[in-house]
Amino acid sequence: MADLSLSNVRKAFGALNVLHGIDLKIEDGEFVVFVGPSGCGKSTLLRAIAGLEDISGGDIRIGGEIVNHVPPAERQIAMVFQSYALYPHMDVYTNMAFGLKFAKIPKDEIDRRVRKAASILKLDAVLDRKPGALSGGQRQRVAIGRAIVRQPKAFLFDEPLSNLDAALRVNTRIEIAKLHRELGATMIYVTHDQVEAMTLADKIVVLNAGRIEQVGTPLDLYHAPANLFVAGFIGSPAMNLMEARVSAVADGNMKLSVGEQHISLPYSGAPVAPGATVTVGIRPEHWIPGDGPSVKIEGTVDLVEHLGETSIVYLRLADGQMITVRYPGDIFCTAGDRFVADAPAAAVHLFDAAGQAMLGRRSGPAYGILGQEFRAR
């Protein structure tokens, strides 16, 4: 077990920069998820930590020791690959024992570790089978077993669930979470699936175009996105982002115009010049009318989706912008109806022209207020 730290890690393929100076600290025993759209560099970063890619600059420390030029096998980390990458010509036992053989571990110790891992992962019955004779879930477990037997300082997972079908994915996700609790090991997990990220992570690292956009707990990212990218990336359906113009800031209040409509928010941040363009963000599920100060936006219903536990209303504003509203339970309106969406001011996010959050929001208060709103209903 060990902590990991990356300082100014850069990676370039020829003239193409893939990672632009990544700084990150991962505590001992933490479950960290790298998430981001495809091509954001999350897999490259993981492979760099594993030692499968040389880095072009910066330092990677594992347990305080710089490992920039240490070969992968000597970094005492284990990796689970997307395609499992089991050796097709070896049985399950040999697959798991293969790396230990190179580490010059005595035979009886290898046997003990493989059998222990097999019993944790319920693979005892298939130890003498080849990977070809296993189901997808079993192969996935063999890949994890191959990592466990090495007793690594950290586990790396590269989109380990993307080859499984939906039902198995949920099960395996839960198993990985349990495994993390039992082993207490540092784990780094790469995925593009935000549900996996939200459910598994102690800490999520959102990457975009080779840069870290935000690091935080899942609820931090949900309630207090630091910028437009994170706001749009975390949450499904995605946060509504409306272009607005600041008309006045006075007495702790900011008046804004969204198209022809005027809204007003409590504001105590840095001074903003009237006329500045900002982005107002409100999550679809936060359009819940409350008692406190609220923000109202009027539009025409474009489409309603009834999902049973929620209803999703697509609104078109007068200036053409679209808004998604998610109500718990059923809602009775049809396309063409006029509709006023109403959200508490505490649930509103505000981003400046550069896309940075302006309200300095924390996850606690907003969550508390909205939680009460739900209870009050």
């Binding site: 492979r47 594993a50 030692g51 499968l52 070969p71 992968p72 096998a73 000597e74 980390i77 284990a78 990796m79 690959f81 997307q82 395609s83 499992y84 990458a85 089991l86 050796y87 097709p88 010509h89 293969f98 790396g99 190179f102 580490a103 990977p131 070809g132 191959r146 080859n163």
Partner: protein
Amino acid sequence: MKRLAKTVALTLLKIVVVFYTIFPFYWAIVSSFKSGAALFSVDFFPAIDLTNYRDLLTNGNFLRNILNSAIVAVSVVTLSLIFAITSAYALGKMKFRGRGIVLAGILGASMFPQIVVLSGLFGTIRWLGLYNSLGSLVLSYMIFSLPFTVWVMTSFIRQIPAELEDAARMDGCSTWAMIWQIYFPLLAPALASTGLLAFIASWNEFLFALTFTLSDTVRTVPVGLALISGSSRFELPFGTIMAASVIVTVPLILLVLIFQRRIVSGLTAGAVK
């Protein structure tokens, strides 16, 4: 009725194809039991007379020739496969400048007809001091077996997912161990089929064998076979030649039968996911 006609037609066609492919070999076997004037009579089921075989195996250098052929073919196959798998790893899995040129060069080298390189190769072999030795044949056969084996191995090794190599590296596998413990077993079916083809080519080769060897004791079977002569210069001992052909062909047929299953299973298995 229509189905019956179809079945009959198909069966007839099968018989024709089998007859066409098997008959020459059958005729060789039949002729190998005959000698003298009997060779010229048409007799589909002659008495089995092994005189020709006995003569071959007791007299002359025929056994020595078979041994030579075996030594040459086995050496060519072994060396070709060792070089092919290592160079295929480099050409298929490593990135370096000029990789495409090397591959094209290897392919280009195999396009020259044997006769074109014969005189140059003869000079090289004299210079290396390999003339009239089995080494000359091993060297010259590899000129033609290597491009083929390298190309086939390269295309096979490229199909093996890169993550497998990453996993092996995480497990602490050196490049050498990776080639022999990961790629070698996975490529076994491809190795069996390319090895077999290289074996057949070396076993049957005639032109180089005739040119680079002189004495009876270093000749290989195809040359030895061609030089079998009768009791007088006017007699061509077809019976003996046919017996020799049969003996020479049997090892190839056995090899194909042994490896056939391997080759077929290699085509269907090997998926990773």
